[in-house]
C-alpha cells in the first residue's frame, strides 16, 4: 500500500532549485577532480592528494 507522506509542502520551486544547484555543484566537482588529477600527474603523487571529502565521492 502506498501512502502520501509529504506532509510538508516541499515547494514546487525547491525541487527545481535542487536540480540546478546539484548540476552546478556536479560541474564544479568534476573540474576540481580534473584539476587534482592534472596536478597529481605533474607532482607524481597520485590519489593521495585528493582532499578527504572528495575521495568519498570518487
Amino acid at each position: 500500500m502506498k501512502f502520501l507522506l509529504l506532509y510538508i509542502d516541499p515547494g514546487s520551486g525547491s525541487y527545481l532549485v535542487q536540480v540546478i544547484i546539484a548540476a552546478i555543484l556536479g560541474a564544479l566537482f568534476y573540474f576540481k577532480t580534473l584539476w587534482w588529477k592534472i596536478r597529481s600527474f605533474f607532482t607524481k603523487n597520485k590519489k593521495d592528494d585528493l582532499p578527504e571529502n572528495d575521495r568519498k565521492n570518487d
Binding site: L4, P10, G11, S12, G13
Partner: protein
C-alpha cells in the same frame, strides 16, 4: 487500570505529521506511531539507522512500551501501531531562544543525520529545528518519525524548510549582525526566500552560497509555482519530480555543511552585556569578592535546579552547576537578553562538555510568548521556567531602573519562578552601574533604596542570609520563599 482505556490527546504542537504524535500520560511524554508511519518506523529500527544515530548521541533514544496507552492497535491508517517512551527531557527550548552557535549546531546536526540516513536508505521528511532539543549540553534530534524511505530519484523534500528555518536566519545574522532569535521570532516557521533576499545586504550577492540557496530559489519559485505541483505523485494533473540521484544529494548536503560551518555571528552590533566585567571597574577584584560571598551563601543549600536570570556569560551559572545535591549535580538554566553572552556560555559548555547547563537568549522584559495554533504549540518562557534556586545577580536594578518595573512587581515575579530559594543582589542608586541607568532619565519609581527593596521582597520571602560584597555597596541576599506569588 482505567488509564489504559483513556485516549490521551496529542500534544498541542504535535498535529502535523500523519505518521504519529506525542502525548502525555501520567506526567510522562510518549510518542504514538500510527499505522501510517509503521513501515518507515520499522525501517528506521531494522536498517541499523536508529542504532547508529543513538550510539552517536544524535537521536533521542526510546523504548517501545507494551501497554496500549492510547487505545489498542488497529489496522486503519490513523490507528495506533506502537507506543514509544523516549528519554525524558529536562527542559524544552525553541530555536528563537537559541544563540547563533546553538542554531548552527542544530543545522549541522540535521545535515549529519540526513547524511547518515541516506546511507541507510532513508531521508528526513522535515528539517524544522523544533525537532531538535538541547539535552545534556548537546543538540539532539527528538522526532523519531521524521525518517522515511528514500526514493533516490527524488530531491530532498525538506530542503526548502531547512533553508527557511536554519540557513536563512544564520545567513541574516552573519551578514546583518541582527541576531537569529529576532528573525525567528518574526518568522517562527521559517523566513521566506523572498524576505531573506531583500533583507541581505548587497555584498552577499557576491557569495555563491547565497546566490544559489537564496536568490536562485527566490527566482525559480514564482515561475515554478505557476506550474503544476509535484507532490501528489500518481494524482492526475501533477508531474513526476525532476530526476535526482544519490551523488547529487550528497553534493548538496556537503555544500550546505560547508556553508553552515563557515558562518559566524557578526559581533559588531553589540548593544548588550558581553564582556560586562572586563571593561568596567567591576573587574576581576570585584568578581573574586562576589564569588566568595556567593559560594558562602549557597554552601550547604540543597537544590536540584537553578535558574540564573541575567546570567551574562554564565560565571555564576558555572559555579551553581558544580553544586551537588545528593550526589546529583543541579540542572542550571541560564538566561540573558544578550545573545553574544549566551553564545559565549554555550561555547564553554560545548568545549567542556558540561551536561547540566542550558543557556538561552531571553529578555526578561520581553520573555518568549506562547505562540502557534491556539497559542498552545510553544509555551511561554514563564510557564517553562521553574527552579529550586533562582539567581538574580546584578539584575533587579536593570528591571527597576532600566525598565521602570516597580520593585513590588519584581518580587512576586521571582517568587513565581522559584520553588524555594532566591539569591538576589541589591545594587544601590549610587553604584556606578545604577547611575548609568538613571543618568539621562528622571522618571523612575521612587523610593529605590535598600528599605524599599527589603519591603517588597519580605512580602514573599524571608531573609536567611545577607552580606555586603566587600569594596562595594552591593548586598547579596539569600531568601527563602514563604508565600506563593
Amino acid at each position: 487500570m482505567t488509564e489504559k482505556m483513556t485516549k490521551h490527546p496529542h500534544h498541542p504542537a504535535s498535529y502535523r505529521d500523519p505518521a504519529g504524535y506525542v502525548f502525555q500520560a501520567g506526567g510522562v511524554y510518549y510518542r504514538q506511531v500510527s499505522q501510517r508511519g509503521a513501515a518507515d518506523y520499522d525501517w528506521l529500527m531494522s536498517s541499523g539507522l536508529y542504532r547508529v544515530l543513538t550510539e552517536k548521541g544524535l537521536l533521542l533514544s526510546h523504548a517501545e512500551i507494551q501497554e496500549g496507552l492510547n487505545g489498542s492497535a488497529g489496522s486503519g491508517p490513523e490507528e495506533g501501531y506502537k507506543t514509544l517512551r523516549p528519554v525524558q527531557l529536562n527542559f524544552i527550548s525553541y530555536p528563537y531562544e537559541w544563540s547563533f552557535d546553538q542554531l548552527r549546531d542544530a543545522a549541522l546536526l540535521t545535515l549529519k543525520i540526513l547524511s547518515l540516513a541516506i546511507d541507510h536508505g532513508m531521508t528526513l521528511k522535515d528539517a524544522t529545528p523544533f525537532n531538535i532539543q538541547f539535552h545534556e549540553g548537546r543538540p539532539v534530534f527528538i522526532d523519531t518519525l521524521s525518517f522515511e524511505k528514500h526514493i533516490v530519484q527524488e530531491p530532498w523534500v525538506a530542503y526548502r524548510q531547512f533553508c527557511e528555518c536554519c540557513l536563512y536566519p544564520l545567513y541574516l545574522e552573519h551578514y546583518t549582525g541582527i541576531s537569529s532569535q529576532k528573525w525567528l521570532t518574526a518568522w517562527p516557521d521559517g523566513i521566506p526566500a523572498a524576505a531573506t533576499a531583500s533583507l541581505l545586504p548587497w555584498r552577499s550577492r557576491l557569495n555563491m552560497g547565497v546566490w544559489m540557496h537564496v536568490r536562485l530559489q527566490n527566482m525559480v519559485k514564482p515561475a515554478a509555482d505557476k506550474g503544476k505541483g509535484y507532490q501528489a505523485e500518481g494524482v492526475e494533473g501533477t508531474r513526476k519530480p525532476p530526476s535526482f540521484n544519490l551523488q547529487k544529494l550528497r553534493h548538496l548536503i556537503q555544500h550546505l555543511e560547508q556553508i553552515v560551518a563557515g558562518l559566524r555571528p557578526r559581533e559588531t552590533v553589540k548593544a548588550g552585556w558581553s564582556n560586562y566585567y572586563g571593561k568596567t571597574i567591576l573587574g576581576q577584584g570585584y568578581l573574586d569578592e562576589k564569588e566568595k560571598v556567593f559560594r558562602e551563601l549557597i554552601q550547604g543549600l540543597s537544590f536540584n535546579s537553578a535558574l540564573d536570570l541575567g546570567a551574562n556569560e554564565g560565571y555564576f551559572s558555572l559555579i551553581a552547576a558544580e553544586q551537588n545535591s545528593r550526589e546529583k549535580k543541579a540542572m542550571v538554566l541560564s538566561v540573558d537578553a544578550d545573545p553574544y553572552c549566551i553564545n559565549a556560555l554555550y561555547r564553554v559548555i560545548r568545549e567542556k562538555e558540561l551536561p547540566n547547563i542550558q543557556p538561552l537568549c531571553i529578555d526578561l522584559a520581553q520573555p518568549s510568548a506562547a505562540i502557534g495554533f491556539r497559542n498552545a504549540e510553544r509555551a511561554a518562557f514563564n510557564d517553562r521556567a521553574r527552579a529550586d534556586l533562582v539567581l538574580a545577580l546584578a539584575l533587579i536594578h536593570h528591571l527597576a531602573l532600566g525598565y521602570n518595573i516597580p520593585l513590588n512587581d519584581i518580587a512576586p515575579y521571582l517568587a513565581e519562578l522559584t520553588t524555594g530559594w532566591l539569591l538576589a543582589e541589591f545594587v544601590p542608586l549610587k553604584d556606578e552601574k545604577a547611575q548609568e541607568l538613571v543618568r539621562n532619565k528622571r522618571q523612575y519609581h521612587r523610593p529605590y533604596d535598600q528599605a524599599a527593596f527589603e519591603n517588597a521582597f519580605l512580602e514573599y520571602f524571608s531573609v536567611e542570609k545577607k552580606e555586603r560584597i566587600p569594596g562595594t555597596e552591593r548586598i547579596l541576599y539569600l531568601m527563602k520563599k514563604i508565600r506563593p506569588a
